[in-house]
């Protein structure tokens, strides 16, 4: 294991190092913000890391996973609020695992087919189980049925997988030493291919979400939104293009006033837009048909990390039974269950957005006092909306209930990657 670590340490090329460090700096200094931008950049970074990663002959997937995890740990530590970074890292890890499994299944399948005649009694159960499991995960859509069927064979498949990945070298050396070069190239190639698809998905997810707009927005509706989300703009404009006439209330979202930018964009696209103060949300919600907002991240329990103020909007919407709809691309789905998200998944921004520096210096007495400052200014960036306040999630795969989000998320991530921190090596 230690040897492997050293190996991967040396294997990362210096230019990827520079890339990673550059990205880390940007994350730390909050140069990159917004889940979409960070997700895209993370995926691109990981792609270049993978492509430049020199893989050992044995246990290629393990090495790749290890390298990505090492980077992922750094990235998530740099900015714990940008959950999308962790999501993408986990997603890439999942892709590597899946590609590896499909390659292994193919090779084992080939192997078992080859050895059907001579070593039939040798290890038929395991190989069959692996092949079946692989076939299921790759071919069949996820369902309760699948889950149940998977139960008995899962351990066996995992054992086989473990066997094949950890001691793949031995078996490969014995059996398929000839096509190991081609296989290593194939794994890398496949992974990069899939990561490219992922990047594509991130770039186009809002289009797929926007396609569903006409199913949700009708004539003469009044829609309330808060925060500036590109997905929401696309969603509303898609409905507008379908000749639906409706009006939009935009809460301005002080102190960052993202609502102003959103309103500007909507007005430019010809939507009837009314800007209201955040305090008027409760007053206006009784005349609103639907609240449509973007999210910063969607947690596995269906809770939403969203721009500050949305919890208030969600409460008001619940009070007046107004549907609260959250639009979320795949990169926003986080496989973690939040603990105390109001505080732990939040970020306090500069007080200067609320009060100018020194504005109250004339009336504050710094000379005396017990050391604890008389004045605190709290300026959080995010709000947590619990799942019970959300009526519907619209992702690129369709609409989902908050209670279903855990399952949707389970499709995209593998359980082994939930914790990115690597165990300290002994």
């Amino acid at each position: 294991m230690t040897a492997l670590l050293q190996l991967t340490g040396t294997v990362i090329m210096p230019d990827t190092h520079a890339l990673v460090n550059d990205f880390l700096n940007k994350l730390k200094k909050r140069k990159i913000e917004g889940s979409k931008a960070t997700a895209k950049l993370t995926a691109e970074l990981l792609r270049s890391v993978i492509s430049q990663q020199r893989l050992p002959n044995t246990n290629q997937a393990g090495a790749l996973i290890h390298a990505i995890k090492a980077i992922g740990e750094q990235l998530t530590a740099a900015n714990h609020v940008e959950v999308a970074v962790g999501n993408i890292v986990r997603r890439v890890l999942h892709i590597i695992r899946e590609e590896d499994v499909s390659l292994t299944t193919a090779s084992i399948g080939g192997l078992s087919l080859q050895g059907l005649s001579d070593d039939e009694e040798d290890n038929p159960l395991v190989s069959a189980a692996v092949a079946a499991a692989a076939a299921r995960t790759t071919l069949r859509p996820p369902s309760l049925q699948t889950l149940l069927e998977d139960m008995p064979s899962h351990s066996a498949a995992a054992a086989a997988l473990h066997h094949s990945s950890s001691s793949a070298g031995d078996s490969e050396d014995k059996t398929k030493s000839t096509d190991k070069n081609s296989r290593s190239r194939k794994l890398k190639h496949n992974v990069i291919e899939t990561v490219n698809e992922l990047i594509q998905d991130i770039a186009t997810c809002h289009e797929q979400i926007a396609e569903q707009a006409v199913e949700h927005i009708h004539h003469n509706e009044v829609i309330l939104t808060l925060g500036s989300s590109g997905t929401v703009i696309e969603f509303l404009c898609a409905a507008k293009e379908k000749k639906r006439s409706f009006r939009v209330f935009v809460a301005e979202g002080a102190p960052r006033y993202q609502g102003h930018t959103l309103a500007k964009e909507l007005v430019a696209r010809g939507l009837q837009t009314t800007v209201i103060t955040d305090s008027a949300v409760f007053a206006m919600i009784s005349r609103v048909n639907m609240v449509i907002v973007g999210a910063h991240a969607v947690m596995a329990n269906g809770g939403v990390i969203a721009p500050v103020g949305l919890n208030m909007v969600a409460l008001a919407a619940q009070r007046h039974s107004v549907p609260f709809v959250v639009l979320a691309g795949i990169h926003k789905l986080c496989p973690l269950y939040p603990h105390n998200p109001e505080v732990l998944l939040n970020e306090l921004k500069s007080p200067s957005e609320l009060l100018d520096f020194g504005e109250l210096s004339d009336c504050m007495d710094f000379g005396i006092g017990t050391g604890s400052p008389l004045l605190h200014v709290v300026n959080p960036a995010f709000d947590y909306v619990p799942p019970k306040l959300v009526s519907l999630f619209i992702t690129d795969t369709g609409g989902h209930n908050p209670s279903y989000m855990y399952r949707l998320i389970a499709d995209y991530y593998s359980a082994d990657d939930l914790v990115l921190q690597q165990r300290p090596t002994s």
């Binding site: 009006r247 209330f249 301005e252 979202g253 002080a254 102190p255 960052r256 006033y257 102003h260 930018t261 309103a263 500007k264 909507l266 007005v267 430019a268 010809g270 939507l271 009837q272 837009t273 009314t274 800007v275 209201i276 103060t277 955040d278 305090s279 008027a280 949300v281 409760f282 007053a283 206006m284 009784s286 005349r287 500050v308 103020g309 919890n311 208030m312 409460l315 008001a316 009070r319 109001e342 939040n346 957005e353 609320l354 009060l355 100018d356 109250l360 009336c363 504050m364 007495d365 604890s372 400052p373 008389l374 004045l375 605190h376 200014v377 709290v378 300026n379 959080p380 709000d383």
Partner: protein, 647 residues
């Protein structure tokens, strides 16, 4: 039951007849104390319930009893009808703006108003015809000279109506003693009584009270009607015929309509808006892109005319507003004075100033003329900014007091009386009430508390400062919201006093609410269904507090309670300056909306108030004590009774 009914049906018309001079309803509170000298009896405000403001809500006295006991009072009243001069009833048509006003001749500077007073006071009377508007010239002489012919037809018609409809009433004509009248009236009207159901009678009684209130208000039909009725009695007090029951009934009907809260001006009614514009002193321009949902409210471009109006202050003789009132109006418009209490006190003080310099024209009664004048001031103030409910309550009070001034008082006495009454109102209803509220609320602050407040409420500020003075250890979270950012002012004042504070924007309420132990909120008004009408955003804060299980305590003086009900914040509200939304003060980089403000797709909505549902409110602290929101209607009812009694 029948012995009770008998006197009442007879009394009813009489109470109404007397209505203009003396408050008959007062008899309900002090049944026998004023049997003979009721018109000039001293005001009972000292006995008013708010005097012992710490007492729990009172149980109203039983109605039947008081009705019975008010019998002898009516016997004592007729002589007083003789005393008032006839010209008192001349002003049947209320002249809203063009009426006499000392301010027409006011000198530009406010400072030397006092020295001008003496010199000015006789002036207006002589120069009115020439200097005033055409309206004044036409209306006022008429009031003086055409009176006798005007009154006569009315008395004739009334008498004819009476003789047509109720032949049996004519037995009362003549110098009959009231005692016998009571007896005979009761007997002769026996069949009639049976027709009127219990509900109807009750309605009548209510309507009487309302008639008084409305008459005091000096606006509209009720006023004229009572004026007519009274003048009829004046003319032939020897042969007073009790007005017929039928006439009485439809009279009551109209008064009853007056009793309901007056519907506000709806600004989507084009004709009425046009009319209002013609009268307006403050010509405001309307906002370009109006929000469809709020067509019924005025949406003005804020403060655009302010420089012009300030300039007009120096040429005030062209309009009819007293300089002090004018100044207050401008300060409302500019936003210098905000907050229910501050606005109310400023208005009352301006009224005081104008009353001080007021002198009634010779041919008009002081209370009629002054009411008209106050009305014109109020319509001016409404143009500057819609009235707050606190102001509405104060105006009602002032008008009641003016209408109830005993006629025997000389002008200077009446003025002194009014001034002291207004002072009394300010002291008792606002300042003392706040003190009582603070005393109650401080008991709810414990050591180690984290108190959250929203915006800047004067009552809450007093509570916090008092608790700090008492040495309680607590922390204050001040929630603020755009565009007014009133919380900053509160923050500044509290921090200067050494209270430790946390300052957040309203969006972060749910972040900070987890650590808060109590929420103290101010209110612009508390409505009869328990909803709290307050600065926009209060509802959001109360909602989040409710969701987090934090008690919400609303502090509101009882004079701000109102019998109106409201379910949402849209039907009745006030719209602020829309440009305040697009302008982000001090943050140039976020002023995205400035350049597209003219785009027809963009509307800016700046609501001023919102309505907090009563289930978010744990407790309302008022000068009557700490009550749940469900008890608000009780306070409202008690207040109304008090107003009528003491009025």
């Amino acid at each position: 039951m029948d012995p009770r009914r008998a006197p009442r049906t007879v009394i009813d018309p009489k109470v109404r007849q007397v209505g203009f001079f003396a408050p008959p309803d007062r008899s309900q509170s002090v049944p026998l104390s004023q049997s003979s000298n009721s018109p000039s009896s001293p005001p009972l405000s000292d006995l008013s319930p708010s005097g012992n403001s710490l007492s729990p809500v009172m149980i109203p006295p039983p109605r039947h009893l008081s009705d019975l006991s008010s019998l002898p009072i009516t016997a004592g009243l007729p002589p007083t009808r003789l005393s008032p001069p006839v010209h008192r009833f001349s002003g049947e048509s209320v002249v809203p703006i063009g009426s006499y006003n000392p301010s027409e001749f006011a000198s530009p500077s406010v400072g030397d108003l006092f020295e001008d007073k003496n010199a000015r006071s006789p002036g207006p009377r002589r120069s009115r015809g020439g200097g005033g508007s055409a309206k004044i010239a036409s209306s006022l002489p008429a009031g003086g000279f055409e009176l006798p012919p005007e009154v006569k037809p009315k008395s004739l018609t009334t008498v004819s109506v009476v003789s047509n409809l109720r032949p049996n009433v004519t037995e009362k004509v003549g110098e009959k003693s009231i005692e016998s009248q009571d007896g005979s009236g009761a007997n002769s009207k026996q069949p009639l009584k049976e027709k009127t159901s219990k509900a109807e009678r009750r309605a009548l009684q209510e309507a009487q009270r309302a008639a008084k209130a409305a008459a005091k208000g000096g606006n509209g039909v009720a006023n004229i009607k009572t004026g007519k009725a009274n003048s009829v009695q004046k003319k032939d007090n020897a042969s007073v015929a009790a007005p017929s029951e039928k006439r009485l009934a439809d009279h009551k009907d109209k008064d009853r309509k007056k009793d309901a809260p007056h519907p506000r001006m709806q600004f989507d009614d084009a004709t009425r808006v046009e009319k209002a514009k013609k009268r307006a002193i403050v010509k405001q321009t309307e906002v370009r892109n109006r929000v469809e949902l709020f067509r019924h409210l005025p949406q003005y471009e804020h403060g655009t005319k302010l420089p012009h109006l300030e300039y007009k202050f120096f040429s005030l003789n062209s309009n009819s507003v007293h300089p002090a009132v004018y100044k207050v109006g401008l300060r409302y418009l500019a936003g210098d004075i905000s907050g229910g209490n501050a606005r109310c006190i400023a208005m009352l003080q301006a009224f005081q100033e104008s009353i001080m310099e007021y002198s009634a024209p010779p041919e008009r009664a002081l209370n009629r003329d002054l009411t008209a004048k106050i009305n014109s001031y109020i319509s001016y103030l409404i143009e500057c900014r819609p009235l707050s409910i606190s102001m509405g309550s104060a105006i009602k009070f002032v008008k009641t007091r003016i209408a109830n001034l005993p006629l025997t008082l000389s002008e200077s006495e009446a003025k002194a009386n009014l001034l002291s009454e207004i002072n009394h109102f300010i002291n008792e209803k606002i300042i003392l009430a706040d003190k009582v509220i603070v005393r109650h609320a401080v008991t709810k602050v414990r050591d180690g508390d984290i108190l959250l407040t929203y915006g800047s409420s004067s009552a809450v500020e007093m509570i916090l400062l008092h608790a700090h003075e008492l040495g309680k250890q607590f922390r204050v979270v001040i929630v603020d919201s755009r565009p007014k950012l009133e919380g900053r002012l509160l923050l500044r004042r509290l921090v200067a006093k050494g209270v430790s504070c946390t300052y957040v924007h309203i969006n972060a309420t749910s972040y900070i609410m987890h650590e808060v132990t109590r929420v103290f909120l101010g209110a612009s008004s508390v409505l009869a269904n328990g909803t709290v009408y307050s600065r926009v955003g209060t509802a959001c804060v109360a909602m989040v507090a409710n969701a987090c299980g934090v008690p919400v305590i609303v502090c509101c003086e009882a004079y701000k309670f109102h019998e109106r009900v409201q379910l949402d914040s849209i039907c009745c509200n006030e719209l602020g300056d829309p440009d305040a939304i697009s302008k982000v003060h001090g943050r140039k980089e976020v002023n995205h909306l400035m350049d597209i403000a003219d785009n027809e797709n963009l509307q800016l909505l700046n609501l001023t108030y919102d309505v907090t549902p009563s289930d978010y409110v744990s407790m309302i602290i008022t000068d009557y004590g700490m009550i749940p929101p469900t008890s608000v209607p009780v306070i409202v009812r008690e207040l109304r009774k008090e107003q009528i009694w003491s009025g």
